[in-house]
């Protein structure tokens, strides 16, 4: 059990109709607790890889094992549970714009069916950890991009998922905010959450000594 990887991707292929194949042979192993950068040019397939891990996209061939189960075979409630064990963060935040920050953070807990008091406690914990107490009561559409991303991270992490997938979370943000986002994700990683961070940001890649994966010519290569 100890040595079993959290993620095992083998021989994954994907070809969207009428386009160049985006994956010909993708292989990857990720252990629990790792922090990984995923990079590659636009259109290389970073988002598609994340969508496959979430079970939103099926590979044409190969297998994707997450936490001991084959993602392709999951359905119904199992698929929902699988998605709940992964926190997704997007470049465009994907928050409910007209709700308060707190409402947004509470959604995964509502989905889990957590009772009110536990919900409040978990929201308080994540709020303190990410230092976003001031934003909590505000409507999301009144927040800046960076602030929205912090809320999105809080929502992705509030129910303590095993894995956080961050799809270019800093693409729309300035360097200072990008650093803060990275630090927050590092903090979550230091508490045991596995993080895969997709980014084009050379500065980030250079500044931190982490494992780096590069998607290039339809395959995945270890760079660092």
């Amino acid at each position: 059990m100890q040595n079993r990887p959290l993620i095992a991707i083998r021989k994954v292929r994907k070809h969207f109709l009428g386009k160049e194949p985006i994956f010909t042979d993708i292989n990857l192993e990720v252990s629990g607790g790792e922090f990984i950068f995923l990079t590659g040019v636009s259109g290389a397939g970073k988002s598609t890889l994340f969508r496959m891990l979430l079970g939103l996209e099926k590979p044409d061939g190969g297998i994707i094992i997450f936490n001991g189960s084959d993602v392709r075979t999951l359905a119904g409630e199992d698929m929902c549970r699988h998605r709940r064990s992964i926190g997704m963060i997007y470049q465009d935040y994907k928050l409910l714009q007209k709700r308060s920050a707190e409402d947004n953070i509470a959604i995964p807990l509502q989905i889990n069916g957590s009772p009110r008091n536990i919900r409040d406690k978990k929201i308080k914990d994540i709020t303190r950890k990410l230092k976003i107490g001031k934003l909590l009561k505000q409507q999301v559409q009144s927040l800046s991009g960076g602030e929205q991303q912090l809320i999105a991270i809080a929502r992705a992490a509030v129910h303590k998922p095993i894995l956080i997938l961050a799809d270019e979370p800093t693409a729309n943000l300035d360097q200072k905010m990008a650093t803060r986002i990275f630090e927050v994700l590092s903090l979550l990683n230091s508490e045991g959450t596995t993080v895969i961070f997709a980014t084009h940001d050379i500065n980030l890649l250079k500044a931190h000594q982490k494992r780096i994966l590069l998607l290039k010519h339809s395959v995945l290569v270890e760079v660092h």
Binding site: L54, C80, R83, K94, I107
Partner: protein
């Protein structure tokens, strides 16, 4: 889960009140049409039924009937529910009536000898159905009764007419109902479609279809319920106008007490049906969107 769904429904209502409002207006409008149609139809059927309610019967008595037998028969007829207009016609009277009704042939008829003109007991039944089989059988078996003649043929024709009218009416109501379902379904489908991003997010976060659906089902039910109450109010308003019109018009004055609104039970049935319809169509609409979502 239910309480959070309620909270979410309230939030949805607050955020999307304009879509929901137009949904209510649309649904309410079509419900007014449907409800008015049902009400008018119901009243027309009721009025015609009242007009054709009475059925006539003639009890032919034997020639040598004793007054004792006659009064026993009359007493039995009197006890039949909804009976009225009991009238005895003697053979002489019957002859006189017959002669009077054929004025041109009066002289000829007078010369003829009518050997047997039976005594007749006529009565009228004022109820929605004819004599029951047991009542008729019992009447025929009474001492001194020769035969029972009914106006059944006209009655049957009227019943046939009612059956056809009923069928046509129910057919039209069904048609309107189907339109209603489509309108409610479409309204709710549009309202949900506008929030497809929201549904997408919930799906990515691992919400089950049931969790995603629930607030929308509550919303659909609410839209249908509010529209239903509103439309009943509007129909009552229209009804009051019509009743006022009937009362102030000499020609229609006599039916003023007969025209009626829905009973509480009918309104309850209408409300529950529409509510379930709202729930069901929002269920379908939400399902369709969730299943077709390609996230």
């Amino acid at each position: 889960m239910i309480s959070s769904a309620f909270g979410q429904t309230l939030d949805n209502l607050r955020e999307n009140y304009s879509t929901i409002l137009s949904g209510i207006v649309m649904t309410c409008f079509s419900l007014v049409i449907l409800g008015t149609f049902i009400l008018v139809y119901q009243n027309l059927i009721h009025l015609t039924q009242l007009a054709f309610r009475k059925s006539h019967y003639s009890l032919f008595l034997v020639d040598q009937i004793s007054s004792h037998q006659k009064s026993a028969i009359a007493a039995y007829v009197k006890k039949i529910p909804d009976v009225g207009g009991i009238q005895e016609v003697s053979s002489d009277e019957a002859k006189k009536q017959l002669i009077e009704s054929f004025v041109e042939a009066r002289e000829l008829l007078q010369q003829l000898d009518f050997p047997t003109f039976p005594n007749i007991l006529e009565f009228v039944l004022d109820r929605s159905g004819p004599l029951t089989i047991e009542e008729a059988r019992h009447l025929k078996s009474l001492d001194g009764v020769h035969d029972l003649i009914t106006g059944r043929e006209t009655r049957d024709q009227i019943n046939t007419f009612f059956n056809i009218a009923n069928f046509v009416g129910l057919f039209l109501i069904t048609l309107l109902m189907i339109c209603m379902v489509l309108i409610i379904y479409n309204t709710i489908h549009i309202a949900i479609r506008m929030r497809i991003k929201e549904i997408e997010i919930l799906k990515i976060l691992g919400a089950s279809p049931g969790f995603i659906r629930l607030p929308y089902i509550l919303e659909g039910t609410l839209i249908a319920s509010i529209s239903c109450l509103l439309s009943l109010g509007i129909i009552f308003f229209l009804y009051s106008f019509v009743v006022a019109g009937i009362t102030f018009n000499n020609a229609t004055y006599p039916i003023r007490g007969v025209v009626r609104f829905f009973t509480i039970l009918e309104m309850g049935t209408f409300f529950v049906t529409i509510m379930l319809l709202g729930a069901f169509s929002s269920y379908l609409a939400a399902n369709r969107i969730i299943n077709n979502l390609d996230v």
